[in-house]
Amino acid sequence: MSKKSNDGSAVNSWLIRRPIKKWFPLFILPTFLCFIIGFIWPFLQGIYLSFCNFMTPTDAKWVGFSNYVKAFQDPSFGRAFWNTAGFAVVSIILINVIAFAIAYALTQKMRGSNLFRTVFFMPNLIGGVVLGYIWSMIFDAILKNYSTYLTANPTYGFWGLVILVAWQQIGYIMIIYIAGLQAVSEDMLEAARIDGANSWQTLFRVTIPNVMPSVTICTFLTLTNSFKMFDQNMALTEGFPIITMADGSQIKTTELLALNIYSTYNINKNWHGVAQAKAVIFFILVATLAIAQLSATRKKEVQQ
């Protein structure tokens, strides 16, 4: 008789399921309370405040939709949106391609692959603000040799941010891809080999379709991370350089959406509600994109 392994079937036993069914509200409660206090309540209050003029959340006065009108009329918001969209496209592609390539290399049999995994993962452990300041020093030190500096033009700032974020996030995304790659069954790869598939064919026809669940989660993470990018943006360029347009309007050329919302809030009391309205628009935008992306990549996943 083979040794009995714990396959989890015991959980399906009626003896265990019945008390769980009865008592689950009690066990969910602490987490659910935290969720309400930390997420649902502030979220609802945020939506309410986007219709108000307020200095602090406790002295809000209802003003209707005027905050939303002002938000859409603000040229800096549009500019920040396009900056963010451009940044998201570039960083999603760059991070996922490089992370996958590294993950693929590190799942092949090679010496020291564990060490490399650790090393690549480490940048992810450093906070965004710290990274932003460190990289601004690195970039400035390099650019100094060419008698220029990071905030000299928007292009430097943009690519600086892309490099920073890629450096930071590739390790994390790589770990997810490694887990996905390790789950690809050896049998399938062996079958492909026997059928005469070369390594590129194996990669594109067998491996990638099988890691689509990882691709889904990784694109989701990089998409939402790019849109929510804040601390790195603030610490690296703070939106500089600022251009004063012919009509007098001032545009922060390397400002992404989250930073735009933050600086709108800081204009003065009358803009707090506008920033809040922008945040609500921002939420709807990110949620829509994320859902669209999830359903698009899910279709590509194969059932095993």
Partner: protein
Amino acid sequence: MKKIIALLLAVVMVVGMAAMFTGCKKNEVGKVYYLNFKPEADEAWQALAKEYTELTGVEVKVVTAASGTYSDTLNTEMAKTDAPTLFQCGNAQGLIDWGEYCLDFTGTDVLAEMTTSDFNLKDENGAVKAIGYCYEAFGIIVNKELLKTAGYEVSEIKDFASLKAIAEDIHARAAELGFDAFASSGLDGSSSWRFSGHLANMPLYYEFRDDKVTEQPATIKGTYLDAYKNIWDLYINNSSADKTSLSTATGDMSQAEFGTGKAVFWQQGTWEYANLVGEKYNMKPENLQMLPIYCGVEGEENAALCCGTENCWAVNAKASDADIDATLDFLKWVVTSESGTKMMAEQFGPIPFKAAKEPANVFFADANKLIADGKYTVTWAFNHTPNVDEWRAGVVSALTDYSAGNGDWDAVKTAFVDGWATQYNKQHG
């Protein structure tokens, strides 16, 4: 049935917790929570708060916002249940934002202790919303010892032309002398306010003086921007700092350059006195002097230092009565007691209160001497700046590009003049 009991139990737990929280909140003794915005005075405030608590048993909490983050910190702290009872509200912008949080000082003991109301902020109804607890002056600080080594006397600096000649000569001989004319004019956030705020006061002051502007104007003309360019060029061309790296040069760097004798001139204010003569740099007071900022405006040889204040205390009107009383008592003690006035004199120089002590700060002596000589005080015209952080950011960005040779002076003008109108509209929009 059990499900219902479980839910009931849960509800009891939550209610119990909530009751506990509200139970703790009630306290009859008032306490003071001061949100301080001057990091350089943090230690002194902490020590004073401790002494007051030992003396009276009243809890005084002093929190200092990190450099440049005061308005963010104030916003966050004010939304809390235990909001600051005492904070700074220093200019017109502050009154727009925080006006309804400012207690009217009329009739309070601390107001009765004041010798002048020149620095106080009043609203349109005449309510005293914030009291100026000290005033400050800024200008060009000179290391007289180094100036002498270079072969000059302070008395030779009378206007822009003489300042320029001396600075350029020192810069030309920098390698031989071992020091340069000006400390670095960093445009990093920790230093850029010296130029987008304080130096920009020069063109603003002269323009407002010509046009008799006394309230925040919707637009400005930039009549004296050439003078602004004169002095800025002088700063960046006669310093050891690389012009392309100004965007990352910090305030601490310039302080160290001046403090360690690597530069003769440093544009700063009276508040730096304690740092310069303190343990870190050990500069001798007799070697320090503050000169007016000369920038090539006609008649400027009669200018004194730039005097004004953004240091105004406001008491949170939305705090509990007990806390308000405790805060007003604390303020009174600060401006009347031995240790309070001593600390104020050391940290802030002359304060407009009856019991004020004579400060050791030589820069104030310089300021007073110039005024006594009949020269005109350059007031703080920049207090009128609309949406001040954004306006300054625009000017800094343009200045950075101009200095690095990456943009022209016209961009600075645009940021200065058009930026003003834009930010005015934004502030009132």
